[in-house]
Structure formats: C-alpha cells, structure tokens
C-alpha cells in the first residue's frame, strides 16, 4: 500500500521540532522564537478545515482504524491545545523548581502569549494555571498561622514564582500579606522591647514566640525593601486589588515611622495620596475602604517633630 504523503504546507510540527532541538542545545532565545512560531502555526492549522482532511487521510493508515479515521482526526484536533498547554506548563514548573529562571520565563511567556490567541483562549487559562502554581508550591494565605521558618520558605517560594511571573495576582497578594505581617510583627516586637525596657520586667514569653519576634525584627529591613519593590512594579495596584495594595502601603508606612525613616514614610504617603486622592480623610485605616491619608499625615508630622 502506498503511503499518503503530507501536503507541503506550513507545518507546525516542523517548527515545533526545530524549537525542541534549540531547547535541547540550550539556545533559549532561538527555542522561544521557534515555540512562538510553532504555537501560532498550530493555532492557524487547528482552525483550517483542510487540516481535518489531512489528518483523516493519515489516520486511515493506522491498521484497523480506517472506519474511525474522521473521529480520530477530530479527537486529535480537540486534544492538541491541551497537550501543548500541558507540555509548556509542566516544563515551566520543572524549570521553576530547579531554579532555571530563563527557561521557566520562556515557557511562562509562551503560555501567556498563547492565551491571547483566539484558538487557545479556552485551553490556556492563565488564572487557573496561576492557582495551580500556588497550590503546588503550597503558597497559602494563612500567613498569621505560619511560624517564622515556614514563612521564610513560603516567601522564598513566592519570590521565585514572581521572578518568572510578576503578574501572578494570588502569589503577589500572599507575598504582600506575608511581608506586611512580618513588618507588623517587627513593629510589635520593637514596641514590646521598648515597653519592657521602660517599665522593667514583664512575664517572660514562650521561647517560640520570642524566636518568631526576633526573626521578624531581623528580616524586617529586607521585607520592607522587597515589599516596596513589589508595590512599585507597574500594574501592582491592579494585580493586588485596591484594599490589599493600600493595606501593604500602610504597613510599610508604619514600619518606616517606627524605624525613624521619615523620608521613606513621606514618600509612601505621597504615593498613597496620588493613588487614592478621593480617599483623603474619608476612610479609616483597616476599614476596607482605603487609606486615611489625613490621619497618616498627622502621624507623620508628629514623628517628624519628635525627630
């Protein structure tokens, strides 16, 4: 039996094959370009009615499957987007867990750009994939219940995800809350130590609680720096949502005040005023409605006078 040949058309599998070869030789830039071209070719190919006919002809070659050839071709067309997504997602995740950031970024970028193609919009749901990353990396929002060491690990894992996908809203939210909680603890611990020094001797705290406070104080400068960097990222307000965004600014503001970094606190206040001018004095902190900028300003003035 003569084997049917494939028609000489723009072939997504050939492009895909070349992209794999580039990835194998660690040429990430070339692999990325190849995968992108292949993805677009796949999207076009899957929408082309001629593809079904090609597949049907080819499926007839499988011994015993001639009668089901059309069904097989349709099944392949249905499942192909999921295979592509699954491959890039798993490759991204594997690279993420092995600290191979360039490769992880490449695969995530491909998932991101494929999600904007009409043919792949349904299969490449970025929100679901981001949730899956959170789940696999055990990034949970139960920050308050997390003790010092697991929280440090959680922050490390979260930072790694954000290096690859800075727009991952669930991870960014968890990270902002974790840094905020850490700054709050550092602030509380510093106040407690100050009070203890002033009144002389309080009931000793449990060793675990003391360890946690000490760890929070030691980590606070780094946490403030990182939190600020995340908040300054373009689009951070949209990614985080207004409440989380303002709450994180408030924690940062209080931290800068408690450590007498008045200029930094002033910058945070200015930024909050710029971001929510309508809230100037209308809402209280923690009310869920926004920042009480007037109150923040009063606190800042007092702190500046004390200095």
């Amino acid at each position: 039996m003569a084997r049917p040949e494939f028609p000489a058309v723009m072939n997504p599998f050939t492009l895909h094959r070349e992209a794999f070869a580039s990835l194998g030789s660690r040429d990430t830039a070339r692999a990325e370009a190849g995968f992108n071209a292949a993805m677009q070719a796949f999207a076009r190919w899957l929408e082309d009615p001629a593809s079904l006919r090609v597949l049907e002809v080819r499926a007839r070659m499988i011994p015993g499957q001639a009668a089901r050839a059309r069904g097989l071709a349709e099944s392949l067309i249905d499942v192909l987007p999921e295979w592509l997504r699954d491959f890039h997602f798993e490759a991204f995740y594997q690279a993420l867990t092995t600290y191979d950031v360039p490769v992880a970024r490449m695969h995530w970028g491909l998932l991101d750009s494929a999600s904007r193609l009409d043919r792949f919009r349904l299969a490449f749901d970025l929100a679901t994939m981001r949730q899956q990353v959170c789940h696999r990396q055990q990034l949970t929002s139960d920050i308050e219940a997390t003790s010092a060491r697991p929280r440090r690990d959680l922050l490390r894992r979260g930072e790694r995800v954000l290096r690859v996908d800075p727009a991952n809203a669930p991870v960014l939210t968890i990270i902002a809350q974790a840094y905020g909680a850490l700054l709050n603890e550092a602030f509380d611990a510093a106040s407690r130590w100050q009070r203890r020094r002033n009144i002389g001797g309080q009931a000793p705290r449990s060793p675990a609680a003391a360890r946690r406070s000490r760890s929070a104080v030691l980590q606070a400068p780094g946490a403030a720096r990182r939190l600020r960097r995340h908040l300054l990222r373009p689009g951070a307000a949209d990614t985080l949502g207004r409440d989380v965004f303002l709450d994180a600014h408030e924690k940062l503001f209080r931290y800068y005040l408690s450590t007498s970094q008045i200029d930094d606190a002033r910058r945070i206040l200015r930024r909050v005023r710029r971001l929510s001018p309508a809230d100037d004095g209308t809402d209280g902190p923690g009310s869920g409605g926004g920042a009480d900028v007037r109150q923040w300003r009063r606190i800042l003035r007092r702190a500046a006078r004390r200095r």
């Binding site: 084997r3 080819r58 499926a59 499988i62 295979w83």
Partner: protein, 94 residues
Amino acid sequence: VSTENPFRYMWDAGADPYRAHPFALLGVLPDATQATVEQFATAREQLLQAGEQPLAGLTLQRGDCLRAAQALQDPVLRLAFDLMAHWHDAALDT
C-alpha cells in the same frame, strides 16, 4: 484518548520527543500492525536486557520499548506521534 502527552514523551528522561518517539524507539513504519509493533518491542527489549542500547545518542531503560508499543495502541496518540515523526519529511512551501 490516552492521558499520555506526546510532547512530553521521554521528556522526563531528558530526551527530545521529536527524536525519541515510539516509531524511532521501535524502528517501525507508520502503517505497522500492532502485532508487528509488539514483535519489534519485544526484540528491542531483549537487546536492552542484554545490556545493549538499540539507538545511538539515547539511553533507554528496561520497559521503555514496551511502553512505546503501548503508546502506539492508542490511535489518537499514534496519529500524533505519526505527525511528529514523519511530517518533517515533506517540504515547506511557505
């Protein structure tokens, strides 16, 4: 449809799925019957058990060839592997 993903085939073993697809692993043609596929798989598996590697540049483990024969049992998966293995033979016009 099989849960196996052809693009991840042998991927965890560090192999390129466009090179290490079941047709290459077993050395069978696209129109081979399942009996032929299994016969080739058994022969290659015996080579592996004797400590030989049937393919240059690729280290196979015991069971890889039987797994390849199994993958070709699923017609949709087999169709995908066929495209991955053989379509590049055609010239590109555009």
